[in-house]
Amino acid sequence: MDKLHYDAVVLGGGLAGLMAAHEIATAGFKVAVVSKVFPTRSHSSSAEGGIAAYVPGNSDPNDDPDYMTYDTVKGGDYLVDQDAAELLSVKSGEIVDLMERWGTLFNRQPDGRVALRYFGGQTYPRTRFVGDKTGMALLHTLFERVSGLDVDFYNEWFAVDLVTDERRVTGVLALDMKNMDPAFFKARAVVAATGGMGMLYAHTTNAYINTGDGYGMALRAGAAIKDPEFVQFHPTALYPSDILISEAARGEGGILRNNKGERFMAKYAPKKLDLAPRDIASRSIMIEIREGRGFPGGYVGLDLTHLGESYIKERLALAYEAAMNFAGVDATKEPIPVRPAQHYYMGGIDVDTNGINTDLQGLFAAGEAACVSVHGANRLGSNSLLETLVFGRETGKTVVEYLRKHEEVSSPSLDKEAERLLSEAYSFVKSESGVHFGEVLNKLRGVMWDKVGIFRDEDMLKSALTEIEKLRGQVREMYVTDKGKTYNTEFYNALELRNMLDLAVVIAKSALMRTESRGAHFRTDFPERDDKNWLKHTLAYLKGNQVEIGFKPVRMTKWKPEARVY
């Protein structure tokens, strides 16, 4: 197997990974970015609405970083580490300025300064945006910037596992998807910036490539996933493609209707109606569908028709276009078919505000792959793009400090360990019979959606655990039909499935443990928030087949928990 030497390896070419790589490279260290897709094809490109930032001199005169922190803490139902949220607010302006300087074409005010708008859960408007393609604009700018630095890109390389040696990460095993050639990337520091895991759920707004590989790799190497039970669902994803229909559609007067044409939100949120928060709206839609008032296939209608053609085309252009292009529905004439879908993962590799994981020396994480605990139990819109950049940069800086202090370790046993991990992965291509990934994958996505989804209770979670365990058993006998070496995507899908199953069992187990409802985690058998017993983070480890659960206090600075009402 080839051995490649780097100071640091960054897994992931999304916003978080590129920002970390930028910091490491500009400090003069040798860094590789390994990504299973060409960087601009990362999921960061899908973000639409914008990035939140308090910019001194270009924000509402009454706003200040404290309000921003408060909004984040309350939105996260108090499971937010408040020092992390403070850092996010304080650095937000700097980050947006930096991206502007690097060329991001933010929408402008008439005087030429960066424009801003309101987003859900904000006391004052803070969201900066580039049309309806903010993520794409930021990702291209950052990739363009970093591609001009001394950074080695390994695009369409699949990271299989972390190579470890007694609680220390010493590199990564990855395969070149073009020819299946393996390489051991030896490095003193590894940054996991592998993004989210939406593909675990039958319905998700996420990209096909969001299979939670980083979580699986971290778990197998012995690192903890923090708050795994917190999965965000967005109420209005387009049926059946699950493309996000922005909250703006409801904000501008869109009405949710069931198959009888009834405005059903009147029943669930008599005051806020269709403007109810994401979790309540999601749960209401699901009840309608389950009780037979959805449309065949399982969706409800988001009716804009009463708003009139010109208003829709002017104010809700994006929703109109998405419905037209991806569902063939003319929103001025008929309701847009929508249903809730998985949208974001609050849980992630346990790290502090410096991006350091304490289970494994040399392991760092940033972006959606990490859990710095800025989003707590529920993420606010526009805070995630911000997190990827702020903490991508903080993590990069920490890595630089770390590299200045730590020497490379080398031992022949490391190469052996890399070989062992490789032959484990290869076993799927080698076997001559067993299950195909597709069968298990589609089952898993169904189980997660039905039983570890928007509504949870003890019975469902227990039954989910049994089923996931069964599926995990099956994939040990996974069989890859395609024996070719060039772009054998079946093989990589199989490896992704292994990662998904390792995470799924951890999510189900943690959701079963947490006997309260908080933010996105809703237990019908425990519908209230329980601060006395549960104002704490879950820390989950995977030891072979066993999920081990521990806890960690929430770090609080100024804000005492109060009821989350809007």
């Binding site: 601009t40 393609k133 990209a207 059946p240 449309f295 569902a327 070719g484 060039t486």
Partner: protein, 322 residues
């Protein structure tokens, strides 16, 4: 009410998907799949279902499923398109057949099934130094950059390229002329050339100008781009900078011939007849080669631009046996 329409229009329809495949062992071959779809089914979803339910060996690229990542470029019933931005039943309706044909993009080398080698595309993009080079003071953070809203709007139109490669796969000039950068690289290059915050003007002119005169103005890139980037428009706009360049290469002088032809064409009929301009600049022989090429792509209509008056078009028609 409206809700009813949604419910009744959900019927399933059986389609046949023919995929042109390739791998090193078997070379080129075709596979056929049958599945039922409804009016919402995207081609990416068709592919995902084939891969997870029928044939796990089928290889293709797809990521965002919402036309922003540029992964899923391919030919669908002969047209260069994004699979995720194409609904199966729209294709069925348009071509009046239940058979949908999927092929890898033209021009790029097929590596496995629908996956092609994009290396050539990336090289083109990096040739134009695709990044902003702001002023020193701005990088240091001592000066703030402002941008007029109208400049932002104009630049953003051309900055929305998602590196999908469709325009390059369809561009005749790229195939004929290795010194032509290609449509996407021109869009990217112009986006920075025109950015008032950028400092590399002279160097960018050197990279872009000569190449900009190698475009045939066939408008293929305009028609295939899934993000309406209009690469050809950026090429026109780049050419307008020729007057600021001291050096003039051969092709730039040919280019001036082109402009002269346009001028005469307008003078003659009051309308721009692109086909005629094309012929008077490049000569009949080249025109026929290119038109044969474009015709193979089913895009003849773009080459034979509307106007009837051009005699040469009649000549070409005869030669083609039309």
């Amino acid at each position: 009410m409206e809700a009813q329409t949604l419910a009744t229009n959900l019927e399933q329809r059986e389609i046949t998907v023919r995929v042109k495949r390739f791998n090193e062992d078997k070379g080129e071959f075709w596979s056929e799949y049958k599945l039922s779809v409804d009016r919402f089914t995207q081609i990416t979803e068709v592919l995902r279902r084939i891969k997870t339910e029928q044939d796990p060996t089928l290889a293709y690229r797809a990521s965002c499923h919402m036309a922003v990542c540029g992964s899923c470029s391919m030919k669908i019933n002969g047209e260069p398109r994004l699979a995720c931005k194409t609904l199966a039943l729209d294709v069925v309706k348009k071509f009046n057949t239940d058979v949908i044909t999927l092929e890898p993009m033209d021009y790029f080398k097929p590596l496995k099934d629908l996956i092609v080698d994009m290396g050539d595309f990336y090289t083109r993009m990096f040739k134009v130094k695709p990044r902003l080079y702001p002023a020193e003071e701005v990088v240091k953070g001592v000066a703030e950059q402002r941008l007029k809203p109208e400049d932002q709007r104009e630049l953003w139109k051309f900055a929305q390229c998602i590196w999908c490669g469709l325009c390059v796969s369809a561009c005749p000039a790229v195939k004929e002329d290795e010194r032509f950068l290609g449509p996407a690289a021109h869009a990217k290059g112009y986006r920075f050339l025109a950015d008032p915050r950028d400092t590399l003007y002279e160097e960018r002119l050197k990279i872009l100008l000569d190449s900009s005169w190698r475009c045939t103005y066939c408008y293929q890139c305009f028609h295939v781009c899934p993000r309406d980037v209009e690469p050809v428009t950026t090429i026109k706009k780049t050419r307008a900078h020729t007057k600021f360049s001291k050096e003039k290469t051969d092709v730039m002088s040919t280019g001036e011939r082109h402009v002269k032809a346009i001028y005469e064409s307008i003078k003659e009929t009051g309308i721009l007849q692109e086909a005629k301009v094309y012929i008077s600049t490049y000569g009949l022989a080249t025109a026929i080669t290119d038109m044969l090429h474009t015709m193979r792509n089913g895009k003849m209509k773009y080459a034979l631009i509307r106007e009837k008056k051009v005699n040469e078009i009649e000549q070409i028609r005869k030669l083609l046996g039309d």
